[in-house]
């Protein structure tokens, strides 16, 4: 019959096949990953273990139009069963969108069974897990993408390219901040799922705010500047009575090139949304980017007018252009930035599959280890009354 198309194609002839761990009913980030993966027509969802509750997993699979027999009761089953399917039918990689404490096990199992991995951030529950994962990635040679999604914005790529090209000279000062207001009350006591696990030390890890969003700020600063935070002095707070983890942190930074910095993350910044902003000052120029207006990069000069670089502009670097889908004036947002990581991951997978060299333009397990070291250093510093602590 005409319409019974052959199922098994080479990777060149088909979309890359994704299996998902987590992202069941009520999840926020799971749906983000699915939309991001779908956007460019390079990836299709073929299976999942969407919830620790098998019936919820089934429900999710149905809503996603998956075949019933590709919806699994848990990630172990998914990885082991899929592995038995022929290449071209089975999933090609696993996307992990669970809370922090359920990153390590599925990632490890997937890697060790030959699957590439996309994993939400922060990398893991603890630094120990992170370092173990890095070793497994190294050993297995799989591709590992950590979704520090803000790195996917075209103007973040532009900033990174400009710094690398010396457009602002040697960097002196970095100010990076991530104020949110949504946890300014004890939202976790209401049963709100997102608030619940993020403020629960048994799921989130040793840090709250500084782990959930502080690591985004840390990663963004290191991603754009190409520098590493050498040491830091942190002052964490828990402003909301009854909360078990920090909900605000202020951190002094010293970078490995001698630059200084400030990192500020807060979840009690009433009225702020996801206002991650970075300002970088070099010897000969400056850069400023704000996530809530993501298509603008302010480029600052000492002796002429500041300039407004815009996504899609003809004057942008190839790195920014590669991360852009639309002409200038068609705002690209959070999902497009997120999708850039999936698109680049897919490209790397295809190239690797063809035996060609590929670039990891996206954050990897190494960025994940940096993030976990950052969390450890911040918590240790703050416990020591903001003593300087190496990262």
């Amino acid at each position: 019959m005409l319409y019974l198309r052959p199922e098994i194609k080479t990777m060149k002839q088909r979309k890359i096949r994704m299996g998902m761990v987590g992202g069941g009913p009520g999840a926020f980030i799971g749906n983000v990953h699915r939309m991001a993966a779908a956007l460019d027509g390079q990836i299709e969802l073929v299976c999942g273990a969407f919830s620790s509750d098998p019936s919820k997993s089934k429900e999710a699979g149905k809503d996603l139009f998956l075949d019933e027999d590709r919806v699994y009761a848990n990630f172990e089953l998914m990885i082991l069963k899929e592995k038995e399917l022929p290449l071209g039918v089975r999933m090609d990689f696993v996307s992990i969108v669970t809370p922090n404490h359920v990153h390590y096990s599925p990632a490890k199992l997937a890697l060790e069974n030959g699957f590439d991995v996309v994993c939400d951030k922060p990398l893991s529950f603890s630094l120990e897990e992170a370092e173990s994962l890095a070793e497994i990635v190294e050993k297995t040679g799989r591709i590992f993408c950590l979704t520090h999604n803000y790195t996917g914005y075209p103007m973040v790529r532009q900033a990174k390219a400009m710094v690398a090209a010396g457009a602002i000279g040697k960097i002196r000062k970095v100010v990076v901040e991530y104020p949110q207001g949504w946890l300014s009350t004890l939202l976790e006591s209401s049963g709100q799922k997102q608030a619940g696990w993020r403020t629960d030390p048994s799921k989130s890890g040793k840090a709250g705010c500084i782990g959930d969003i502080g690591t985004h700020a840390e990663n963004l600063a290191e991603f754009i500047t190409g520098l590493e935070i050498k040491e830091l002095a942190a002052d964490l707070s828990t402003f909301v009575a009854g909360r078990l983890l920090d909900d605000d942190g202020s951190v002094l930074l010293r970078f490995n090139n001698g630059a200084k910095g400030i990192l500020f993350a807060s979840q009690i910044a009433v009225g702020d949304e996801n206002n991650i902003r970075i300002r970088i000052y070099g010897e000969t120029g400056g850069l400023e980017w704000l996530q809530t207006e993501p298509n603008t990069l302010l480029v600052k000069h000492p002796d002429k007018a500041n300039e407004i670089y815009r996504t899609g502009g003809g004057n942008l670097s190839k790195e920014a252009q590669n991360a852009t889908r639309l002409p200038a004036g068609h705002p690209e947002g959070y999902l497009e930035a997120f999708a850039n990581l999936y698109k680049e991951f897919a490209l790397a997978s295809r190239l690797r599959n063809e035996g060609k060299p590929f670039e990891t333009t996206f954050p990897t397990v190494k960025d994940g280890v940096r993030g976990m070291k950052f969390i450890d250093a911040v918590v240790e510093s703050s416990s020591g009354n903001a003593k300087w602590t190496s990262v």
Copy 2:
């Protein structure tokens, strides 16, 4: 074999199946439609006639991982061949993303062969075609979605809902504008494809700028306010020597409730991107929205502080919330707005398929007829030295 999944599912069990007309190599809007259709996991592309050049169509189909036998040499073939496939295998609807002069024929053929249609704007090459299409839609009872995509933004939905709820009182004045700068030189002489057909009267129709983007402005104003432009006085210009159609227009508006307005569209507004902006002043409040910062709606008051409504805010109408995928602070952009039309079209299709009532929250063929009437009135008025002309 486990992996030979059954092909034929009910619409409840599967994605809705899209066939595309146009959108081959070098196209801009075709890819936009594909991304918009893919985003929410409700629609899958199953076939296409992507180019009037069959080899280019094949090439596009391959890049899109389509089965070879579902990539057609022209839209007639596609519609007639697909019609022969069983329901659940064949495409469910046709998406038309060609230049204006190739909207009518595929739309007509699709509708008359039982397919729903999504069509890019403006509706057609001429008002006559538009009125004919409206009749065919009426007669066939098919669902027709016209992608005036700016109506898909959450804050545009919020504005519409607020006007409808009387939040700004009776409307007095509407100022809507759409300045672009990309045609400030004779770009069409360079062979640039997008510029080429848009400035060619044999493809674009009797209007250039006012058809391409003026109709977006017209549609946005009528969509949000719920009013109709009753008459207008227009002054069109062609500033770039050698250009065959208008590249700038200024229009005075009078609405059917007595409100006055200004509509301004330009493609010679050097340095502007896609700066469609609308300001609406009522007896008791005002609204302002700008597409390049689409997640903000400024709500103005006579006697208290103006307010910044933001996509994802808890204070928004259900119409805005329905058009939103992410919490506040995760910028949604052009593609998400575009995808809202596809998502709503898919929902309407599913409900219709199940015999349930459905809403057309998206622009339809009727909006398309309004747009073509607007074009005709503007051109006629301008020819008469800005004489008042009924729409």
Copy 3:
């Protein structure tokens, strides 16, 4: 006695001496003129006829620390009495800050008695008065400054200088607007003094909104571009029931170089303040300025990033620098712009007094005549259903 300083000094040794007509208790613009005149230490207020009510005039004089015998019951007395005082004691010029219908008589009397004049806008109650004043200025050779204060902003000077230097090429399109919201209700019925005379045809003249603020928009457009509006098509409205003059107007413009334009003025734009904004598009660049953020000029380019010019920037023209008092980052506002006209008027007076050549960088009686012609043309056009009318 040491402290009895000699009263009579040459103009080089002293401030220029101002007499004021109008600006008594409850006035808005009178105080603005006084602050603007005082700011640079070049002008001192020495006398006034502040109100048609002599007791109110006395009260104002006392608050202003004037000698009682220099506070007059009416402007005729002031001009004639002051004329009798010796040079260096008497006032050097008259500042007229009354409603429109009381501009002509004091201006005429002052000019004819040898005094320079600063006069608030619009120039007069009628075009006839305006043309008569222009003749008197011509005949008497006095200096006449019309306070179209928005021309005094540094970034407006920058825009004018850039246009003159060809920075944006031949101008194609001008969009100038002045939306206010303060008259969106029948405020004049409350006894509010500013609303009262502005909406009273016996005081304001034949136009309301279009005279009060439309002329500012007209003047700004002609000042920056160096062009003249050749003809226009206007649609005036009175939205507030019971109001005697227009409170909103939309105008299509055609300039003497072939450029097109839109002018929009409104006093029913709820929630808007004094949002006078101008956008100018030339063949090779664009400019955008908004009065509520007056220290920024957006400079637009076809092929590179738009630039943010800022008051005080080292990259600015000498015209902008001459109109600036402070380094970049010290916001200059409405009063500083206003004061620039007084400062330049004072400089012209000093130079003229020394027999040296001087420039009239400020608006003069000629601009006033243009404004009154604009009002006449708008009212005539609107009466003729937006027929094209020469200015």
Copy 4:
């Protein structure tokens, strides 16, 4: 003769008389003080010792139209000679606009000879001087105004009033910053006067950036919040080779109510002007103000749309309204804010002169002592590798 007006008036009948120390040719802040003092017609400059070079002092006096015998060779002469003149002829107060190391002596001499004082910030060269001045003010009972001019902005007053009224609840976090870019190169080596003394430890004191602008940030935070910084941890840097004082500082703050904070001041923030900004987050709301757009105060809410409060708005506190000269939409700037301190100082002087109670709504010597303590604490903390140091 009519025109020989009696010289001696009571303070009720005349402007308050100012003598100035500093502010000669090439000065920046001296002219600012003169314009600020002149703006409201309450104060007149009657004498000065404008430069340590008597010929430059004379030149300045001539440009300012002063009587020659009221222009003095040094401040000692000015204070002692003026004291001998009768009340109503002599100056009423001294304005000190010299570099930091020449604040103490003229202030002390003026206070001890019965003159009120307006003094530029920071208060003095050292904390010892500051504390001595505070004692002298206490002992002499004179009025002392320290020109932390940013406190004069209407929207800063609004913020202070809202905090005091509990509008944002108990304060949790304060982020205050003051980035400038003008010293990103060794400008002081060029002979630029403003850069010269500010980077010279013998004139500026023990701090550079943190004294010059860090104290503004510190003062603004304490002024608005009504809190005191209890302890801080600071990391100062000197990025420009050859510079003798800090040009950048990052400071962690702890307030006396338990709130946390960040203070960031920099003079190497390339491309930034005078971007002093403050964000305050309380338990139930937030406030944000930025000096380069000073007429806007962003008021943030946890559960409804953020609001844009604007200078001149009818919804503002009386404190803001008292600091406002113009209706909404007429931007007030740096000079108006500065002038508010002079206006309030003048009002206090008049009331004191009449034996009435008066408020010190402006910063005083006490704020100056706080600033000097802040400088000392920052320098000490930074020397101790950002150890926590009490203020």
